[in-house]
C-alpha cells in the first residue's frame, strides 16, 4: 500500500465498503430501487462522504491524536458527519427542492450510517499517511458509488425480468448481492 493508485484500488475494489466489509448494506438496499435516483444519491453521497472522511481524518490527526483523546473519536466522527449531512440537506431544500424531497431520508440516513462512520474508522485506522488517507477516502467513495449504481442497474434489470414470483423483490436482490460479494472477494490480494 505504498502508492496513491494502489490505495485507491484497495479502497474501491479489494476493500469495497459494501460488498467486502458489508457496511452500509442497508443503504444499498434502501436506495438502489431505481437507477436514476441511485445515480443522484451516489452524487449526494460522494459530496457528503468525501469531505466528511477527510475532515474526520484531519480531526483525528490534528486534535484527537495530539490530545490523546482518541477514545472520543466515535463521538467526533458522528458529530462531523451529522453536521455535514445537515448542511447538505439545508442547501438541498433551499435550492433543489425536488432532490430534497426525493432523498431526504437517504441523506439523513447517510449522516450517521455505518458506511460513513465505518469508512472513517477504516481510513483513520489504516495507518496511512494523510495524503494516502485522502486517497483511501476517495477510493471508498468510488467503491460505494460503484456498488450503489451497479447494484441499482442490476435491480432494475431484475425487476424487468420474468422472475419466478417467489424470487421477486428482496430474495433476488440478496442473491445478486451475494454473487456480487463473491466476485469482490475474488479481488483479494490485488494490492
Amino acid at each position: 500500500m505504498s502508492s496513491l493508485f494502489s490505495t485507491i484500488i484497495a479502497a474501491a475494489l479489494v476493500n469495497n465498503i459494501v460488498f467486502v466489509h458489508l457496511l452500509g448494506v442497508s443503504s444499498l438496499f434502501a436506495f438502489s430501487r431505481r437507477l436514476d435516483a441511485a445515480a443522484e444519491l451516489a452524487l449526494l453521497a460522494a459530496i457528503s462522504m468525501f469531505p466528511a472522511l477527510v475532515i474526520c481524518a484531519a480531526l483525528d490527526r490534528l486534535i484527537l491524536d495530539p490530545l490523546d483523546i482518541r477514545f472520543l473519536n466515535l463521538l467526533a466522527f458522528v458529530f462531523v458527519t451529522a453536521a455535514i449531512a445537515t448542511i447538505l440537506m439545508q442547501l438541498l431544500s433551499k435550492h433543489f427542492p425536488l432532490l430534497a424531497r426525493k432523498h431526504s431520508l437517504a441523506v439523513a440516513m447517510l449522516s450517521c450510517n455505518s458506511v460513513i462512520i465505518g469508512a472513517a474508522f477504516m481510513a483513520v485506522g489504516s495507518l496511512l499517511s494523510f495524503p494516502l488517507q485522502v486517497a483511501y477516502s476517495l477510493g471508498t467513495v468510488l467503491g460505494f458509488v460503484l456498488a450503489l449504481m451497479a447494484f441499482a442497474a442490476i435491480r432494475q434489470r431484475c425487476e424487468l425480468a420474468a422472475l419466478p414470483d417467489a424470487m421477486r423483490g428482496p430474495a433476488i436482490d440478496l442473491i445478486c448481492a451475494g454473487i456480487a460479494a463473491m466476485c469482490f472477494l475474488g479481488f483479494a490480494g490485488l494490492v
Binding site: E159, L160, A161, A162
Partner: protein
C-alpha cells in the same frame, strides 16, 4: 455515364431476405377485365374522409369526380369506370377490425365510357402552382404505401429552395414488384413525371434511386434518361433501403431524425409510382383511377402485376391469377415484412395498395412458440435505426414505457428486421406496436389532464371574480346580509335543495292548473 457507383443503402444494419419477386416479374403488366362492382373508400389517407358529390342512382362516367377532398390535405376521388352509384355510405371494416370506413359503391356497366381528357403537353409553359392544382384535382397520393397527398407535399415546398428531388424506386420489401415492373416497361413515364415534379418544386438535382439488382429496370431507365439531366443513383439491395430517411441518406448523405421531414433539409422524396401518376395527371390530364398492383404468393398459379382500377375487390384479382383455394390460407397487402393481413378478400384496392400476397402453409407457416430472449444482439445488428431492439423488447414487455421511450422506441420504424433475425422467434414489432399504442394513450391522458387543469383554473378564477363582484355589490348597497347568505361556499344541503325544487315544481303545477 454508364458506370455507376453502387452506394451503400443503409448506414446501420439491414437484412437481405429472399426477394420472392421473380415469379411475379415473369409476365408483363396486365390490363384487367372490369369487375362488376367497385368499392371506393372515402378515406384514402389518414386525414378527413372526402365528401361524396354524387348521389345514389347517379350514372357516372369514367374519370368523373365522385368525392371531393376536404381539409388541408384532402384527396379527390374519381370514378374508375362508368356505371351507376349504388351506395355512398357503405361501412366497411377496413384492415383493422372495429375501425370502419365509409365507402362509395359503384356498379359498372361495362361500357367504360369516359369523359374527354385534356392535359398540358408543354410543361415549360406552366407555372408551378398550375401543376400542383392539376395534381390536386387528379387526387394523386403517395403510391408507396403511406399515401400522403402529393399536392400537399408539393405545395409545402413552394417557397423553399429545393436541393434534391429523389424518386424512390428502391423497392426493398420482398414480394413487391410493382415499381420494378413499371420502370421496366414504362420508364419514360416515370422520368417525365420526375421532370414535371422538378418543374413544380424547382429542385436543383433529381435522382432516381434504385436497388442495383434490378437489372432490367436499370437498363430501361438508362435508355429513358439519355437526354435528361436526371441522374441514376444505385444503392445496394438491402432491406429496408426504400425507407424514406434511409433512402435520403443513401442518395444524399443527409441524415434526418424521425421527427423531421425531408422537406426540412430541402429534399423531396417521391415514389416512382407517384411520379408516373403525376405524369398521367399533368401531361395526359388523367386522374388517378388505377395503379399497378403486384400479386404474388404460392397459391397463385400465374402471379403477375396488374394495372388495377382503384376499388377493384382483391378477390377479383386473385381469381384472375388462378388462385388455388385448397392451399390458400390468408391474404395480406404490402410486403412480407411490413404487410397487413386482410380481414376479408372482398376489400378493394386502394391508391396505396402496392402488393397483394396470398399465403399458404409452406412459405408462411404458423409462427413457432417464441422462446426467451437471450439478448444475442442480432436484432441490434439488423436494426437500420441503430436502436437496441432487445432492450426495447424488455421495456415494452414489462411496460417500462419511460425507459422504452428513453431508448428510442419512437424512432422504431417497425420494419421488422429485428423479428426476422431473432433466433428465439419473438415478434418484436408486435410488442413495440402494443407499447406505442399504450404510450400514445397515456400521452393523450396527460394532455387531457392538462386541459382539465386549465378548465379548472379558469373555473376557480371565475368563481373568485363572481364572489368579489357580489361582495362589491353588497358593499355598494350597504346591506349587511346575514352570515349564512354572504358565505359563498355555503355547504350544499340536499334536503334544502330538494325542498326548494319541490316548491318550484308545485308552483309550476299550480300555474298550469290555473291555466287549464
Amino acid at each position: 455515364m454508364l458506370s455507376h457507383r453502387v452506394r451503400r443503402s443503409l448506414k446501420f444494419g439491414g437484412i437481405t431476405p429472399p426477394s420472392n419477386k421473380a415469379a411475379t416479374l415473369r409476365s408483363r403488366i396486365m390490363p384487367m377485365p372490369l369487375p362488376a362492382r367497385l368499392l371506393l373508400p372515402l378515406q384514402q389517407y389518414r386525414e378527413q374522409p372526402a365528401q361524396p358529390c354524387v348521389n345514389v342512382g347517379d350514372r357516372v362516367l369514367k374519370y368523373q369526380l365522385i368525392a371531393r377532398g376536404t381539409g388541408a390535405s384532402g384527396l379527390n376521388l374519381h370514378a374508375p369506370s362508368s356505371g351507376t352509384i349504388t351506395a355512398i355510405d357503405l361501412e366497411v371494416d377496413f384492415f383493422i377490425k372495429g375501425r370502419t370506413q365509409t365507402a362509395i359503391e359503384l356498379q359498372t356497366d361495362g361500357e367504360d365510357s369516359a369523359l374527354p381528357l385534356s392535359g398540358m403537353e408543354e410543361i415549360e409553359a406552366f407555372e408551378a402552382e398550375q401543376i400542383i392544382t392539376c395534381v390536386e384535382e387528379a387526387g394523386v397520393c403517395g403510391m408507396g404505401g403511406a399515401g400522403f397527398p402529393s399536392a400537399t407535399k408539393l405545395r409545402a415546398c413552394l417557397n423553399q429552395e429545393m436541393e434534391y428531388l429523389l424518386i424512390n424506386a428502391a423497392e426493398c420489401e420482398p414480394y413487391i414488384s410493382c415499381d420494378e415492373a413499371l420502370l421496366r416497361e414504362r420508364a419514360s413515364t416515370v422520368v417525365r413525371g420526375a421532370e414535371v415534379i422538378q418543374r413544380a418544386c424547382q429542385a436543383r438535382q433529381v435522382k432516381i434511386v434504385i436497388e442495383s439488382d434490378k437489372a432490367d429496370a436499370i437498363a430501361a431507365l438508362r435508355e429513358a434518361l439519355q437526354a435528361s439531366t436526371i441522374t441514376l443513383c444505385l444503392v445496394s439491395p438491402r432491406y429496408p433501403a426504400g425507407e424514406e430517411r434511409q433512402l435520403l441518406r443513401a442518395a444524399t448523405g443527409i441524415e434526418i431524425s424521425r421527427e423531421q421531414l425531408p422537406t426540412d433539409v430541402n429534399c423531396l422524396v417521391f415514389n416512382a409510382g407517384t411520379a408516373a401518376a403525376i405524369y398521367a395527371a399533368v401531361i395526359e390530364g388523367r386522374p388517378c383511377i388505377s395503379r399497378i398492383v403486384s400479386l404474388s404468393g404460392a397459391p397463385l398459379q400465374t402471379p403477375k402485376n396488374f394495372e388495377a382500377l382503384i376499388g377493384t375487390p382483391i378477390s377479383h384479382l386473385l381469381a384472375l391469377c388462378g388462385i388455388d383455394e385448397r392451399v390458400h390460407v390468408d391474404t395480406f397487402i404490402g410486403g412480407s415484412m411490413m404487410g397487413m393481413y386482410l380481414p376479408a378478400t372482398s376489400l378493394p384496392i386502394c391508391k396505396t395498395t402496392n402488393s397483394v400476397v396470398a399465403t399458404d402453409n409452406v412459405q408462411f407457416p404458423l409462427p413457432d412458440n417464441e422462446l426467451a430472449c437471450i439478448r444475442c444482439g442480432y436484432c441490434a445488428d439488423a436494426c437500420p435505426e441503430n436502436l437496441l431492439p432487445q432492450q426495447l423488447l424488455q421495456f415494452s414487455r414489462s411496460r417500462a414505457f419511460e425507459q422504452a421511450t428513453d431508448h428510442g422506441l419512437d424512432d422504431c420504424i417497425e420494419c421488422g428486421a429485428c423479428a426476422y433475425v431473432c433466433p428465439s422467434k419473438i415478434p418484436l414489432v408486435h410488442y413495440y406496436r402494443a407499447a406505442k399504442e399504450e404510450i400514445a394513450a397515456e400521452t393523450a391522458n396527460k394532455r387531457q389532464g392538462e386541459q382539465r387543469k386549465q378548465r379548472f383554473q379558469y373555473w376557480q378564477y371565475r368563481r373568485k371574480l363572481q364572489q368579489e363582484a357580489r361582495q362589491q355589490e353588497r358593499a355598494d348597497t350597504g346591506k349587511t346580509a346575514s352570515l349564512a347568505e354572504t358565505n359563498a361556499e355555503e355547504p350544499f344541503s340536499r334536503e334544502k335543495a330538494r325542498a326548494d325544487i319541490a316548491a318550484a315544481v308545485a308552483r309550476v303545477k299550480q300555474k298550469r292548473e290555473k291555466k287549464d
